[in-house]
Symmetry: C2
Subunit: 796 residues, 2 copies
């Protein structure tokens, strides 16, 4: 009953390969998609996969996490408390450009006569390579090998090599390597701007009306070409410096020019048949919220000098080593479906590219692979990505949570504006201020507070980091719990229930509703968890409790109010249907006419006025199902199944956050076939462009959901905080699935097969695993080097 | 329990006078208020009461009904179906300016040494006069008499006279009469622009970023000075032409200059003691959506030549005659409260100034006295003003309804965009397109459809205009009924009710709710009335029925669906409280903390985020009470009282539409004292500036509600469509109230006293008046020249 079977759920046009994404033919028709799929990034620097030659592109994107411009939001009708200042990630100066001329004729992929072409994103090497043979207009064959990578080990470094070999005939060649400010220049960027009066897809990026990057520095000294800018409104600063190393036996000249918006290093050479010219281009970016551009340029130079000293081979080896470590901690092996195996690895690789070097920043909805959603951080990171990081790279999870902790002062201010105590995290932001201009599907999503609290629990359960709990963690929990207790109220109808009104759940196809089940379940969790943590600190009776109470003016009586509110939290339940209504009024809404909705009308948000969508029982993503997936222990199996049966057919999946959650929930309730179907849908959100907007960047949260489906879905991982539980259920489509995870520093391998799973502790302290039932725990402490077998228990 | 007793419910600073508003002292502190209170207008041309000398002003406003600029609405987050093009009334070139210099010293009220000063808005003469004696810096005393009026009889004409007399000493004087484009020039206009990031009061006007008026013509030929413009975006065209007549015995010179943004006629004279210089300035404006400026200027010249031929005295006499007619048809006489009598007449005068020359336009929220709400037409005209017009000037009501009929094609398109059949009228508009950029308090107010249907019924009941019914009326009713039937749906819960979800009622302090009582009551009316009218046409069996069915593809089965939906319309009712909840979920909302809300926090909309307001039981205006006031026959008295008792204490009255409705409803249920209190509040909305924004223009709808309170409240007028009923209830505060009205061409005088009322038919056919009860009608046909006594029936 869901809208349609996704139109192209076969792997796109790329051959199956377990460790590589390979393109064998240049195709101008899907540049937007391939720019995203082949992008290289490290969570700080992101380079879309534009060809070295520039020109034809969906968007020539270079993004630096957190580097944004601000602008004044003009509300057509303003109101008190509306977000006033927009934040948009800036397209940073483009260092990818390396143009080639042979006999003065340019190489241009769209028109070139190519004898061979291959482009490979190597998931173990962490490189994007392109190898082609070009027959020039003059009939000469030229091999061009290009490689680029963004260092996963060195935050500010990207490396490109460009190698030209004349296969027959000699020729003069020119290689023009550039650094180009496209943000403010002529650009093919944003070919899809809307005409006057046309609806703009709100998920796409914004064009500015002013010059964004104000030139502050341009110079080329000692072979280091530098450009520096500050953003006109936000005042953020950026420097980018290039160095070029040339290797060739051919006689050559190098000339450099630099201007405010372009730095150019041009090599000219007379090359003989069989002779090769190789240029290594080392690039460093540094950004800041206020450090002068000169200082940033100095930092770039230091980064580059170290890189030159190390040498490209060494940097490549480090890249490989970093990824070896990543795969050892994070790989999922799927036996019996090679295409899915490849897709899984591509998704995991995207998680590495989105998180590796994130420091003092969040992870944007598209990572740094595109400008979709304006480079904003949402709740997705906490809900979909941090669980993966918590169990595979807890240090990265900690950094992200600490970033949220640093945001507390602005979150407190925002709560005040909204007339609430405590802290309210912004629905979308880069700099900590609320940037959501449409409050109904923005600020009203108070549930982001609980998402952060929940991610914190994931991290603490996985890491056992009591130090973080006692300091940053407890403070975040207190302030978020405060907000919930103040936001909700005790019903006047005498039923002693605690209600939360006027909020929007994750399903944005209804907004500003009362007692959204997801929100209430998560708010209840948030308040309970906060109270437990405060009690725990009190038990420790060390200075952290006193400090907390002092800093936050916290008294035990206040903690009691959270517990009372949580215990009395109203969770709408319909006795007749035996399900939880999505909100208090949801079941009163008119059914959506799915039969009368043409396939072209999806996603509905682009084809129906919000009022039309809001008044119908139709979902973008099923948030009752999400509540079950996250808090499975809070719902009996029969209720979960009835919920799923009710909501699944009315869920459009118009959100890319939908498929993986349906997969997890389906797996948890024994709907194996459906789980596999949804898992595939999540796997190919980008690779098969099932949402039609992969060109805007990678759907990072969905990638996180891929790992989540295997761990929380098929393996049935549940972390009680004191031990792990597994409820394995391998779909019959596959022979076996295994994945790695960590718990309190110990490393585990979980191998799922048809009959259950085997959990092997590879290293570290013994891991407590509960083999009992809900009512009768039976904890096994599995030591390093040993395994524990867990049998599959049929759910029916 | 309402927020506070209005702070300044004594008459402002103007002496009590039954037919005049008088100002005895120039006060720079409340220029915005007095510019509005003393404005002169005829519904087409509106001149704010800026002093002739210009300079100090809240806003130098000259408004021409419907003359607007368009602009592209930039939604911070756009969505399908959002309004894309804004419409804003333009500040037309200012012809009010007449500057005076004596001994080369300018007269400037803010600094002038004034021996005497009086400004009078005469409600019978229809003029604004100012009489002052100025002691010049050189010590000479100069009498300056200025008068202006906008002709109520001649749509395109305004007349100003300016008379200077030297009381002692001779002096050279200069009178500089100007026509000045302020829209695009330097101006004191909009002194209250917001700083970056500040919340802008959404009720105020907009400033443009571009030059709005593109000069197309400037010339001065044969003493006719003309300026012409077209609007940069909307393409609307305007011409304004001036003529000056000079009367003086003093030797004088006249020099004229004209430039694209200013036309200036300068008189210089050497004046002896006792000598007078009098300048008459005749001004004509013509606007169009496309007629070339030259042609408009020709029209202006023709208007002016006629005016010159008639002479100012004749024009003044016509003005007086027009108003004699107006007062004969519309006056309300109140015995026992002179201040209230004055305020009543001022309000009625505003209705004349807002409606007299409205043709092919609507009446904007502020008439043509200010640019508040951007000059848009809302539902207020239909709900608050047309009832007054229907019973006092039915031809004016007809013109307004015909304007809505002309808007049907765009209303049909808008319904399509919103996925609905039939027609959906725009929430706010000038040109017929939806201009509301905030759908929750805009497009979601579907109830505007019913407001138009209801106004149509008022007009038809009052006029008996069957021709209009058969043509324009029936078409509007069919298309609005269609929308309701399609918008609502049959509840799936088996209770056979018809529901309307996702709409906003008149009370904008909750939005996008389900089964808003007001909306459902009015939608029910709309569908029933449409079906009755279609049946009526069918009974006539003439060509109008066939034509209607053919044009609108209407079949009897469709009419049946309206009747079924109307009969099954769900009207939320709470058995426990015995009241109608404002919407299906209203009683579940948290109570508002009135005790904890400081007076400075009103209106709430400027001090609380919409989400905070929406989730509480707090009203801007009580729309359940409005439903009772409009459809009193649909609710038993006890229910009406309980409703009133419940909603009145939680109604802030933050909307100026609130007080008069509370007054009508209170009077209808026998709450006399409260009715008087609210009636006073409505009377002084502008005169005492109780909402703090009278500076933006007259609250025309509230003025309409003043008449409505007397007619529908204190007289208890109810029109069944076939006869009139009266349920008089004079508050003990007054000795008597009488008012005039028309019905099917007959003129009535209704005199209310403590014991009941006397209805006298002054002229025309006998008027059927029902003297019976709800169950037992007793129709008296009261003939011209006779009276019918109706006794007050105590409600308790």
């Amino acid at each position: 009953m869901r809208r349609t079977a996704p139109a192209h759920l076969e792997l796109h046009r790329f051959p199956v390969d377990p460790w590589r994404l390979v393109e064998r033919q240049y195709d101008r028709a899907d540049l937007g998609l391939t720019e995203t799929l082949f992008a290289v990034a490290n969570g700080y620097i992101g380079l879309r996969a534009n060809p070295e030659e520039g020109r034809d592109a969906h968007s020539h994107g270079t993004f630096l996490n957190g580097f944004h411009e601000t602008w004044s939001i003009t509300h057509a009708e303003d109101a008190y408390g509306f977000a006033k200042v927009g934040q948009t990630i800036v397209n940073a100066p483009d260092a990818k450009v390396i143009k080639l001329y042979v006999d003065d004729e340019p190489l241009l992929l769209s028109s070139a006569d190519l004898e061979s072409y291959e482009r490979v994103l190597d998931l173990r090497e962490g490189t994007l390579t392109r190898d082609l043979v070009w027959r020039t207009p003059g009939g000469k064959r030229v091999r061009v090998r290009a490689q680029r990578f963004v260092s996963l080990a060195h935050r500010h470094l990207a490396v490109m090599t460009f190698e030209v070999t004349l296969l027959d005939g000699s020729a003069p060649i020119v290689i023009s390597s550039q650094l180009l400010n496209r943000q403010d220049g002529e650009d093919e960027y944003h070919v899809t701007t809307a005409a006057l009066g046309e609806t703009v897809d709100p998920r796409r990026n914004r064009t500015f009306g002013h010059r964004v990057l104000v030139p502050k520095l341009h110079r080329d000294v000692d072979g280091e070409a530098a450009l520096g800018y500050s953003c006109a409104n936000s005042g953020m600063t950026l420097a980018c410096v290039l160095r070029h190393l040339v290797e060739t036996s051919a006689a050559h000249d190098i000339e450099s020019t630099v201007a405010p918006d372009i730095a150019k290093t041009v090599l000219t050479a007379r090359v003989q048949p069989g002779e090769t010219v190789r240029v290594v281009k080392l690039v460093s970016y540094h950004t800041s919220s206020g450090v002068p551009v000169e200082e940033l340029a100095d930092r770039c130079c230091r980064t580059l000098r170290r890189a030159v000293a190390d040498g490209v081979e060494s940097l490549l080896a480090e890249q490989r080593m970093w990824l070896d470590g990543f795969w050892a901690a994070s790989d999922i092996e799927l036996r019996g479906d090679d295409a899915a195996q490849q897709a899984i690895r591509w998704n995991l690789f995207q998680l590495a590219q989105a998180s590796a070097q994130v420091q003092q920043h969040g992870i944007a909805a598209k990572g740094v692979t595109g400008s979709g959603y304006e480079g904003h951080y949402f709740w997705d990171t906490e809900t979909y990505v941090i669980p993966f990081l918590a169990y595979t790279n807890p240090e990265a999870a900690r950094r992200l949570l600490r970033f949220r902790w640093q945001m507390l002062p602005t979150a407190r201010q925002r709560a005040q504006v909204l007339n609430q105590r405590g802290a309210l995290y912004p629905w979308r932001t880069i700099n900590g201020e609320e940037a959501s201009a449409y409050y109904a599907a923005g600020t009203a999503q108070y549930h982001i507070n609980a998402a952060i609290a929940f991610a914190l629990k994931r991290y603490l359960d996985a890491s056992g980091d009591m130090d973080f709990l006692a300091n940053e963690g407890a403070e975040m929990l207190v302030e978020t719990a405060r907000l919930w207790e103040d936001l909700g109220f005790w019903s006047a109808n005498g039923d002693e229930t605690f209600r939360i009104h006027g909020v929007t759940g994750p399903d944005e196809y209804t907004t500003v509703v009362n007692d959204n089940l997801y929100t209430n379940v998560m708010a209840r969790f948030n308040m309970r968890y906060a109270s437990r943590v405060v009690e725990l600190l009190q038990t420790w009776a060390d200075e952290s409790y006193d400090s907390l109470c002092r800093r936050l003016a916290l008294a035990p009586e206040e903690v009691d109010t959270w517990v009372r509110a949580a215990d009395a939290m109203f969770l709408p339940y319909d006795e007749g249907l035996g399900i939880h209504p999505q909100d208090d009024g949801f079941l009163e809404l008119e059914p959506w006419n799915f039969a009368g909705t043409p396939a072209a009308d999806y996603p509905l948000l682009l084809h129906y006025h919000p009022l039309v969508i809001y008044r119908h029982q139709v979902l973008k993503q099923a948030d009752v199902v999400l509540a079950m997936a996250l808090r499975s222990d809070q719902f009996p199996l029969d209720v979960r199944r009835r919920n799923f049966d009710y909501y699944d057919p009315i869920t459009t999946g118009d959100s890319s956050l939908s498929a993986c959650v349906q997969a997890i929930a389906a797996a948890q309730i024994g709907y194996d076939d459906l789980a596999v179907e949804y898992f595939r849908e999540a796997l190919f959100v980008d690779l098969a462009d099932t949402h039609g907007n992969a060109s805007d960047g990678v759907h990072v949260a969905s990638a996180g959901g891929v790992w989540g489906t295997v761990a929380f879905g098929f393996a049935g991982l549940f972390d009680t905080g004191t031990c792990l539980r597994f409820t394995p259920s391998l779909p019959s489509a596959w022979e076996g699935v295994s994945f790695r995870m960590q718990r309190h520093g110990s490393c585990l391998l979980v191998e799922i097969d048809a009959d259950g799973c085997t959990v092997t502790v590879l290293a570290g302290a013994p891991v407590p695993i509960d083999l009992g039932t809900d009512t009768t725990p039976d904890i096994a402490h599995v030591a390093a080097g040993t395994s524990q077998r867990i049998a599959r228990i049929p759910l029916d």
